[in-house]
Symmetry: none
Subunit: 260 residues, 2 copies
């Protein structure tokens, strides 16, 4: 199995059933993914997880546990989220093969990437999709479309391992000619999610400071703003500039004696 | 879902556990395969099968039941058999993607093709592999390779449905290079360049207002800012939001009596 898959993380958001966590562990491990992360799981009892993931105690014990999705994604430069729902215009929607190719292209540069899976009954909330560079839908029979968590993980782990093998065999993994992010080659590193999260927080503070948004009416503006930056896939230098811009809006007004 | 998958049959040889049969039914049906055949199953009780394949009674009731594999394959022009074991020289061994491409190429000619899966504990016997045009092994982590019956069916059904979609999209199936996908589909029109130019002007005015940039030192900042927005390929609604943000920075300061 390829080492490229070692840079891929499987992130389960609020998994409710430990048997499903075990299925996800097993499916990930089958295809060389050893890094699993749980965000706010309902139980996550290691022995119950091991029922459906036999001989995987080491992987289970190493699983990261986080209270918030932002913490779980801190070191990731690219995240894709699985969803079954019809899309709005906010997100870039790709098929599993395309997502896997893009993830492995980043993983091949030694960067950590993540695949997000939501809770069994409700999937990923919009706030989680807002943290993704792309959203993945698995094309299924419209008359019989329900895929469970373990199966979705299996399918994505399979796609990622296949993309990794292709890349290591020297094949062109993806031909996403029209995708803007692939037309973009920066001399700087891609911005890590932790930095983007901080910048988004600073942006919201700035928009509030100029009274462009107020309280709960922020949501659709902030979603739009995140979407633009995630699609553009900022590098670290750009991230620094934008962070600086939003910070300066607040700082300038303070200097002028306006307390937001 | 494509009708090409209607010509694909999933054949389970001596399945021992009805829950696994149900998982196979569900996974097949997820990807448009409705024809399942059982060869000499241990039980095959429809209600037990339905536990893991909810709302699939019709498909379950239509399942063919055969005493011998030869009878089950009578109408098939091509058969591939799944196996985890090391190969002898007897069989042509292919990966799932290749097998799916070959099966769908036949299915597209209106011919029936089959995928064979063996019993849970021992897999397919040599006598079954001898009836296959190709033998399929799923490349897994050698240290953790065990895939269960339902997962193997899911993975092959997925591959077959993907090959079918590619063929129907006019792609050459046997040369599986991913299609360039248009990355970003918005319900709004793409922002026209004239509007972007105005927004960039407004942005520069805002950055000057907060003294983030001054005079000729603007150039590299403005270049970076343009680059981000052009890569993200804004739609008209997003353009309006960003124009509004930059305009409001200046307007807010004016309202507060700060003249840039």
């Amino acid at each position: 199995m390829t080492s490229l898959t070692e840079n891929v993380s499987v992130v389960l958001v609020e998994p409710q059933d430990d048997i499903n966590i075990g299925n996800a562990v097993r499916a990930s491990k089958n295809f060389g993914i050893e890094d699993l992360r749980l965000v706010n799981p309902a139980h996550a009892d290691r022995d119950r997880i091991a029922i459906s993931a036999p001989r995987a105690h080491e992987t289970i014990d190493r699983m990261g546990r986080f209270e918030t999705l932002d913490e779980a994604l801190d070191d990731c430069v690219m995240t894709v989220g699985l969803t079954a729902r019809a899309r709005s215009a906010h997100w870039r929607v790709v098929e599993p093969e395309q997502a896997a190719a893009e993830l492995i292209a980043e993983a091949a540069k030694g960067r950590r990437v993540a695949m997000l899976f939501g809770r069994e009954d409700s999937g990923l909330p919009n706030s989680a999709l807002d943290r993704c560079q792309a959203v993945v839908t698995i094309p299924t029979n419209p008359d019989y479309s329900s895929i469970n968590l373990g199966q979705a993980v299996l399918l994505m782990a399979w796609e990622v391992s296949r993309a990794a093998r292709k890349m290591q065999a020297g094949e062109v993994v993806a031909a996403p000619v029209s995708a803007p992010q692939n037309a973009w080659h920066s001399e700087f590193e891609p911005a890590p999610m932790a930095g983007l999260t901080r910048m988004f927080g600073q942006a919201e503070a700035a928009l509030e400071a100029i009274e462009f948004v107020k309280g709960s009416s922020n949501d659709h503006i902030m979603r739009s703003l995140r979407s633009v930056f995630l699609r553009a896939r900022l590098d670290t230098r750009e991230l620094a500039i934008w962070h600086g811009i939003f910070k300066e809006i607040v700082a300038y007004m303070r200097r002028k004696g306006i307390e937001p």
